[in-house]
């Protein structure tokens, strides 16, 4: 099951929708791992879209499970790469040539969508015009508010900062500028008094 319903939270926390085709002469789809399933749904509901679409697919934990089906969608351009950082130079090149009217669709984990959104907004697409559909892992990209280091794929709360080693509490407070949630020291007042670690969303 690639869908997850996030419980309601504070206003800062991003919320996700279901990708829907929009008017436009070119479409950029960035999908990661199980996000491929959202791309299949999008393609099914919008016949003409793929002829004008560029799919950037990041395999992530899904490997090449979806590769064949994605390649057969008939996208004008189809790229597949192992990780977000591997795909980033291509994404930047695509954005530097892009024209107004480009429609952007993101699907996959929050960490990937957040980072891709940062590239898109820096290139001049308003964040409200970018569609995001969450699929796959609920792991988070967390920033330690103390040392500012980013820890990827955080699945437990609290967790240990991979940079400074502090025990961090997982907040829903999100930064679009950093594409990360905020992690705050959980035992600052009483060092060593760390709550039991639990899976986020369990």
């Amino acid at each position: 099951m690639s869908r997850f319903k996030f419980p309601p939270s504070i206003r800062s926390r991003p919320v996700y929708e279901t990708l829907a085709a929009r008017d436009g002469k070119s479409h950029l789809i960035i999908a990661e791992a199980e996000g491929a399933e959202a791309v299949f749904d999008l393609a099914k509901n919008a016949e003409n879209l793929m002829a004008h679409a560029h799919i950037i697919y990041i395999q992530g934990r899904s490997g090449d499970v979806y590769a064949e089906r994605l390649a057969s969608l008939g996208a004008r351009q189809f790229y597949m790469g192992p990780s977000y950082s591997a795909a980033l130079p291509r994404l930047r090149r695509v954005l530097s040539d892009a024209k107004m009217g480009l429609q952007a669709y993101l699907t996959g984990t929050e960490g990937m969508m957040g980072q891709a959104m940062l590239e898109l907004t820096s290139a001049g697409i308003p964040h409200t015009a970018i569609q995001c559909e969450h699929r796959g892992s609920t792991a988070r990209r967390m920033q330690c508010v103390h040392c500012k280091g980013i820890t990827e794929d955080v699945t437990t709360d609290p967790f240990v900062c991979s940079h400074c080693g502090l025990n961090l509490f997982v907040r829903d407070h999100y930064s679009r500028r950093l594409a990360a949630f905020q992690g705050v020291c959980v035992d600052a007042e009483d060092p060593g008094n760390v709550p039991d670690q639990v899976e986020i969303y369990q």
Binding site: D23, K25, K99, M100, G101, G124, I125, P126
Partner: protein, 321 residues
Amino acid sequence: MSVGENKIAVTVSDITKITPLVTQFRFVRTDGEALPTFSGGAHTVVEMIDGAETRLNPYSLMSDPMDQTAYMISVRRDDQGRGGSLFMHQKVAVGDEMMISLPVNLFALDLRASKHLMIAGGIGITPFLSQIHELNAIAGTFELHYASQSAELAAFADDLMRRYSGKVHVYFDDLGQKIDLAALLEGQPLGTHVYVCGPKGMIDWVRKTAHDLGWPREAIHYEEFLAPQSGKPFEVTLAASNKVIQVGEHQSLLEAMEAADVDAPYLCRGGACGQCETNVIESDGEIIHRDHWLEDDDKKSGKKIMPCVSRFVGKTLVLDR
């Protein structure tokens, strides 16, 4: 409290005829102090005392926003209008003292844009003049497409072409020239914002074309001041103020409230900003909605009115003001 209440006493220091229809006015502060700076696209509301009648009309500031010595506006003569522009053209002289509001901006540049694409129709050129000053100071990228009836009526076109050659494109209706809008919008690099100021038809055309081409709503900016139109006189009951007022043929509902010393909020006085939105308590008749602020549902409901431009025809209108 009205948002537009803060006023500046100014003296007309210069009047220049720009085209057969457009006249430029220069204002300095009467007390000799520096005027506040503003931001490109801002307007000021000019108070015109014409005998017993007071009109308050908004005009875009066209001077350099950082120039604190003077403000400049340009007024297009409208022979069919309610008389505000004719008053400015015929009765205002150099040395006259007038009251204007502090600048208000409902058409600001979005400085996150990597390029500013400006589309002007006729007198809609004026807000772009201050915006171009602003962009010039920060080395911003812009391109202006300016449509006018004819070369003779294209205010400031020659000056703009000379100063910003290559960035300014003019189109004259009488020569059959027209902006190739779809091609223009399609070729714009990501990060471009489009701004349009001109007649309603032009604004609708640009907004629709950009929308259909997939431009995000946030990248489309427009400004259209609606001048209040004349209409049949009508009577209004102001419930909160406990007053019954008459709105004259050439008076707006907002002006009639002000004439009765009712402190009604306003900002643009042109149906755009939403500041004067007023609840209708009772209505037996038809509200003539002329703003482009209220949603269609609100207009149909008959529960809201924008007194700066809208009117009423019928027996009874009671407002919560």
